[in-house]
């Protein structure tokens, strides 16, 4: 008895001394990572958790600039534009103590290229990854690919031996019926090690004492306790009551409340996501309107008029409570190709819009169905509701059909909607990504999210040539030209750029990351 008591008190003493130096970050957001397998799901919250445990070759800092992670240098090979050379960081160890070398990179990239991988589209230009020596890797692409590094910021590196030893070489496969080891266990090079995880309930990580960057980064958080809290009101209550130090997915209606609370702050930054409406202009006649035999959206004057009818400032002030930045183009501000002039091109002009409608032969307007998600973007349904009223002013009678994202997005990809809301983030920070998915005509694997039916062969050819144009100046000129067409044709009706809000206790120091992916190694704690 006495023995147990002594043991217990020693343990207690030990834990209190440990507590004195320990800084726990209690972190909450609305959802949990879907899996820990580094290559199984290409999804924001899942990547966020992985970023604490695993590392890619390079990451982006909060301004969007590259920062070396597992690679220290990278450049196209001098005599061969089809090859990228990556110099790897030396002296890096995985959490189990194994050395990080080139063979791990080769292995991870090959794993990420397998059929079950969700990351394979980002690196489909890579035909071969080879280790030149222990700390040099060459990546061969199917043509010159000047922006390859942009696609690698969420491509995590696993240890080859660990993965093979635990029989988890294959990326998680839902049909396989068995739980793969890598789904719940980790062995990365990152600043935090996984301690315990109960999916959707709690994930605990602790500081990796042997992290290679321990002199470079603050690393003041020694333990992370991550809890998803789905209900927005409960999430905010947890921050207000001090049960959580750091909160993502802040509901906009509670920003004031949190900001005015003692000891709490809200930090914000523009997010890498733009919200807009798409219109089906490609069809001869569309189903969702009341005009027989022709498609009003095929007329650029109608599209322009609809864009002019949207009062973006009103949406910003009333629907978003200031938490958005009105947009004139469908590229987030840090993306290569974005210009301030184009982003300011959307002007509200009801009289002008009415005149355009009349010129196009729709003086009496028409009616159309607007498909809108109600659980995907900040206040998505409310934005659509506001748009209904605004479009009504120029005679476009809109029937709003708002539904959950799981039902909304298939409408766009299956071309079953003629007027829809979509939001787009650009993980590569380059306009080519936007053009490939939203502007290029539907053709096999490209244009998959282009629900407009727009198909311009000349433009498509220009978009395709971007992929292999190594002359960055000429490439940027092409990008600007393509944007000009997109703007003049009013392919989309831009609404706004979303603004990200992170709520935190006063002592927590971190800048908002436009990808909404906080990396805890940068956190300071006071």
């Amino acid at each position: 008895m006495t023995k147990t008591l002594t043991l217990m008190s020693t343990a207690l003493l030990l834990s209190t001394t440990a507590l004195a130096q320990a800084e726990t970050l209690r972190w909450a957001r609305s959802g949990d990572a879907l899996t820990l397998d580094p290559h199984a799901q290409n999804e924001g919250p899942t990547h966020t958790i992985r970023h604490q445990i695993y590392e890619p070759l390079l990451i982006r800092d909060t301004t969007g600039a590259f920062e070396p992670a597992l690679a220290t240098e990278w450049a196209p090979k001098e005599d061969d534009p089809n090859v990228w050379v990556f110099k790897l960081r030396e002296g890096v160890k995985f959490h189990d103590g194994a050395d990080f070398t080139a063979e791990d990179v080769v292995f991870s990239f090959n794993r990420a290229k397998t059929e079950n991988s969700d990351m394979k589209e980002l690196i489909n230009s890579i035909t071969e990854v080879r280790a030149v020596d222990d700390y040099t890797v060459e990546m061969v692409t199917d043509g010159p690919n000047p922006i390859l590094p942009s696609n690698l910021t969420n491509l995590f590196v696993m240890d080859k031996d660990w993965t093979e030893a635990n029989n988890t070489v294959d990326v998680q496969d839902f049909e396989g019926g068995e739980l793969t080891y890598a789904t719940t266990s980790t062995n990365g090079t990152g600043p935090y090690k996984l301690v315990s995880r109960e999916q959707d309930v709690k994930t605990v990580m602790s500081l990796n004492e042997d992290y290679w960057g321990k002199d470079q980064f603050p690393l003041e958080v020694t333990e992370i306790v991550y809890t998803p809290i789905q209900n927005a009101a409960t999430r905010v209550a947890a921050l207000l009551s001090g049960e959580v130090d750091f909160l993502q997915d802040m509901p906009v209606q509670d920003l004031e409340r949190v900001n005015s609370a003692d000891g709490l702050v809200v930090k914000q930054a523009p997010q890498n996501r733009v919200i807009f409406f798409g219109m089906n202009m490609g069809a001869d006649d569309i189903e969702a309107d009341n005009v027989e035999g022709k498609n009003p959206l095929a007329d650029v004057r109608v599209r322009k008029a609809m864009s002019m009818a949207i009062n973006r400032d009103a949406i910003q002030q009333v629907v978003m409570r200031g938490q958005s930045q009105p947009a004139g183009m469908i590229a987030p501000p840090f993306v290569n190709g974005w210009t301030e002039e184009m982003d300011a091109e959307s002007k509200t002009d009801i009289e002008g819009a009415k005149a355009l409608m009349e010129e196009a032969g729709y003086a009496d307007g028409f009616s159309i169905r607007l498909d809108c998600p109600n659980d995907r973007y900040v206040n998505d349904e409310a934005i659509c509701q506001a748009a209904v009223g605004m479009l009504g002013q120029i005679g476009v009678r809109v029937n709003l059909d708002a539904k959950p994202k799981a039902q909304h997005f298939p409408l766009i990809t299956d071309s079953k909607t003629d007027f829809y809301m979509l939001g787009w983030g650009v993980p590569t920070y380059d306009s080519e990504y936007i053009f490939n998915f939203l502007v290029h005509g539907r053709e096999g694997d490209i244009g998959t999210w282009n629900g407009t039916g727009y198909d311009n062969d000349d433009l498509d050819a220009k978009i395709k040539s971007l992929a292999s144009n190594t002359d960055l100046e000429a490439r940027n000129a092409d990008i600007a030209e393509i944007w000009r067409v997109v703007q003049d044709e009013t392919l989309y009706i831009p609404i706004h750029h979303q603004v990200l809000n992170w709520g935190m206790a006063d002592g927590v120091g971190i800048e908002v990351d436009p990808e909404d992916q906080p990396k805890v190694k940068y956190f300071t704690m006071n």
């Binding site: 589209e121 839902f174 739980l179 109960e198 998803p228 409960t234 209550a237």
Partner: protein, 326 residues
């Protein structure tokens, strides 16, 4: 007797099959799981491959038969969202819901009966009237609002109780319990009040009206005339005779406490099967939705079956009618 039981069990099985069929026919309206499972860069080839792999390209009756075939063998498939066997996930989540339901049920029954008796005896008192007025809140306010109000008061303003989660849990065998730690017990208070409030007010009002009825009966007056103490009259004679309808209602409400835990669990981020189900709907996680719906219908069908059997043994008329019919 045996024929009756077999017949009832066969009927229950039929109900289960129909529930499953209806559930599967609705899944296609919930949305497309593929969209959530693959990132925005996915190609048509990926979509087709995954759809084929999951068997989603087949008509729903085929999917249903496949599900049944596997379910009979105890295999509920792999969750689309978590990539883990559904049976494991449900077993992991069940203790949280059952503990919450047990505490809520306990609160509802004891507080409900106690307050019901009190308000019946002190019918004209100020306290009884206040309780009766307050109980209107329990009956009329929606659960999520009560939950949010409790969080605001006890977590944000007073800081006494946690606003979310289950606190620290202790693993006993395959069961995780929050009963053994301080934070676990604290975490139980607000959700169990939220979940049990409706049932509590229901039972209280029922007990009160039954008591008032019984207290007017002649045998109560007679008991008083015999000079029995007030306590003996109220509890031994009056309360006992009000309990029959109370037990019937309570039994029926037991199922709904577990089924309606969905809302309470969402508000308090309580890691039970209800929250799991809500997540599954949002993600169109068909295996989890199917297993949960089947589980809940098994529970309701089971409760009804037991109630039927109890009636059969209690009410002799049922037996008499049946023998006459044959």
């Amino acid at each position: 007797m045996l024929a009756f039981i077999i017949q009832r069990i066969a009927q229950s099985a039929l109900v289960l099959l129909v529930v499953g069929l209806v559930a599967f026919s609705m899944f296609s309206f919930v949305g497309d799981p593929i969209d959530n499972m693959l990132g925005q860069e996915r190609t048509q080839a990926d979509i087709d491959r995954l759809r084929g792999q999951l068997g989603l390209d087949q008509p729903f009756p085929v999917q249903y038969v496949k599900f049944l075939g596997n379910a009979v063998q105890g295999n509920f498939g792999i969750s689309y969202r978590q990539g883990r066997p559904v049976a494991d996930i449900l077993l992991e989540r069940a203790p949280a819901t059952l503990e919450l339901a047990a505490v809520s049920g306990f609160l509802a029954i004891f507080m409900g009966i106690g307050l019901g008796v009190f308000t019946a005896i002190r019918r004209e008192g100020f306290a009884a009237n206040a309780i009766m007025s307050l109980s209107l809140i329990g009956v009329s306010l929606p659960t999520f609002l009560i939950g949010i109000l409790l969080i605001y008061l006890f977590s944000v303003e007073l800081g006494w109780l946690p606003s979310f989660g289950r606190g620290e849990t202790v693993r006993v065998g395959g069961w995780t319990t929050g009963f053994l730690t301080e934070s676990g017990l604290k975490a139980l208070i607000l959700p169990s009040i939220t979940l049990g409030l409706y049932q509590m007010t229901l039972i209280m009002r029922l007990v009160r009206s039954e008591m008032l009825e019984v207290l007017r009966q002649d045998y109560i007056r007679f008991a008083r005339a015999r000079g029995l103490r007030e306590r003996a009259v109220n509890f031994r004679h009056a309360l006992k005779n009000t309990l029959v309808p109370v037990i019937t209602v309570t039994g029926l409400q037991l199922g709904s406490i577990i089924a309606f835990a969905i809302i309470t669990e969402t508000v308090f981020q309580w890691p039970g099967v209800g929250l799991l189900f809500i997540n599954a709907i949002q993600f169109v996680d068909i295996p989890v939705m199917a297993a949960y719906l089947m589980l809940i219908s098994v529970m309701f069908v089971g409760i009804n079956l037991i109630v039927d059997l109890l009636y059969f043994s209690i009410d002799p008329r049922l037996r008499a009618d049946r023998t006459k019919a044959h």
